[in-house]
Amino acid sequence: AVRPLKRRQPKRTNELPHPNRLPGIFDDIHGASGRQVCRRHELYVSFQDLGWLDWVIAPQGYSAYYCEGECSFPLDSCMNATNHAILQSLVHLMKPDLVPKACCAPTKLSATSVLYYDSSNNVILRKHRNMVVKACGCH
């Protein structure tokens, strides 16, 4: 009997298991999984809502922003990611149970200033660093 030819085992390759079409910068901002890619979102901290306007002279609140979105495709051209994040995301694709995805976090922060009365009616102007997200990326 002719021995059936041994089926060649598919060579284990590191090919990505799913179509790895990266959403380019002209595609919509939803990645392949339908989730949004990592980007900055509006977050307004309202001193009015906090009931502080009887002692805060300025501002009435400020846009702090926050970062949210998928880091599934750190190679995406519209997303800035550290080399480590790219490596972590690739290793995550190979071992999803062992290595988490890179996460979407601020890459640039700036300050905001608040002008207010203290309990002795002195007027104080305080600059707070790292209170406003300027840019997001994958870490």
Partner: protein, 244 residues
């Protein structure tokens, strides 16, 4: 998150914070701002909001600093000397030493400095007093000098420490800024005390002039022209929050 008035997605119970949770949230956010607590300004907000000299000046600084906020933006000369805290002190006691026509005559200002926060380094301090055109035809040039009261003496004049000298013309009008940064070393040492300042005015040939007659406005001036002290601080250690 989301737009200016984020609405919870349909079906999700809208989160309503109780009074106590709101207070806890406020305290958490105050802690992030490094604010000691929610101060209760003494004067009723309406009176406190009259255009007083210190808030008006500080509002200008706020707009300058806000323009400076973008770390990589803001032209260097607009930086407030990298200060991250500016305090204006308005609680002041003023005493005139112009009685009896003895020479020299001076004005004394005492400021309550107990509000100065710990761990901050003073990078600059200035005393601001409004100069109106003088009421009498004094000769043209006046010299205004400022001293810090180092030690009061019962039987003689206090020990003084020279701070600044400005020359102006009798007809000048506007804010006169005297540099009192040199006095700040002593503040941080004797925090519990207040700061005493003596203001002298004299003519070019050395005659002492009553500061009121020279047009320097004290506490009796309208609120938008009252003198105040401004101090610029730089946090020596960034206020790192204790882990919870």
């Amino acid at each position: 998150g989301g737009g200016p008035d984020p609405r919870p997605p349909p079906g999700c119970p809208s989160l309503r914070l109780g009074a106590r949770e709101r207070r806890d949230m406020q305290r958490e956010i105050l802690a992030v701002f490094g604010l000691p607590g929610r101060p209760r300004p003494r004067a009723p907000p309406a009176a406190a909001r009259l255009p007083a000299s210190a808030p008006l000046f500080m509002l200008d600084l706020y707009h300058a600093m806000a323009g400076d906020d973008d770390e990589d933006g803001g032209s260097p000369e607009r930086r407030l000397g990298r200060a991250d805290l500016v305090m204006s002190f308005v609680n002041m006691v003023e005493r005139d030493h112009t009685l009896g026509h003895q020479e020299p005559c001076w004005k004394e200002f005492r400021f309550d400095l107990t509000q100065i926060p710990a761990g901050e380094r003073v990078t600059a301090a200035e005393f601001r007093i409004y100069k109106a055109p003088s009421t009498r035809p004094l000769n043209r040039t006046l010299r205004v000098s400022m001293f810090e009261v180092v030690q009061e003496r019962s039987n003689r004049e206090s020990d003084l420490f020279f701070l600044d000298l400005q020359t102006l013309r009798a007809g000048d009008e506007g804010w006169l800024v005297l540099d009192v940064t040199a006095a700040s070393d002593r503040w941080l040492l004797s925090r519990n005390k207040d700061l005493g300042l003596h203001l002298y005015v004299e003519t070019e040939d050395g005659h002492s002039v009553d500061p009121d007659l020279a047009g320097l406005l004290g506490q009796r001036a309208p609120r938008s022209r009252q003198p105040f002290l401004v101090t610029f601080f730089r946090a020596s250690a960034s206020p790192v929050r204790a882990p919870r």
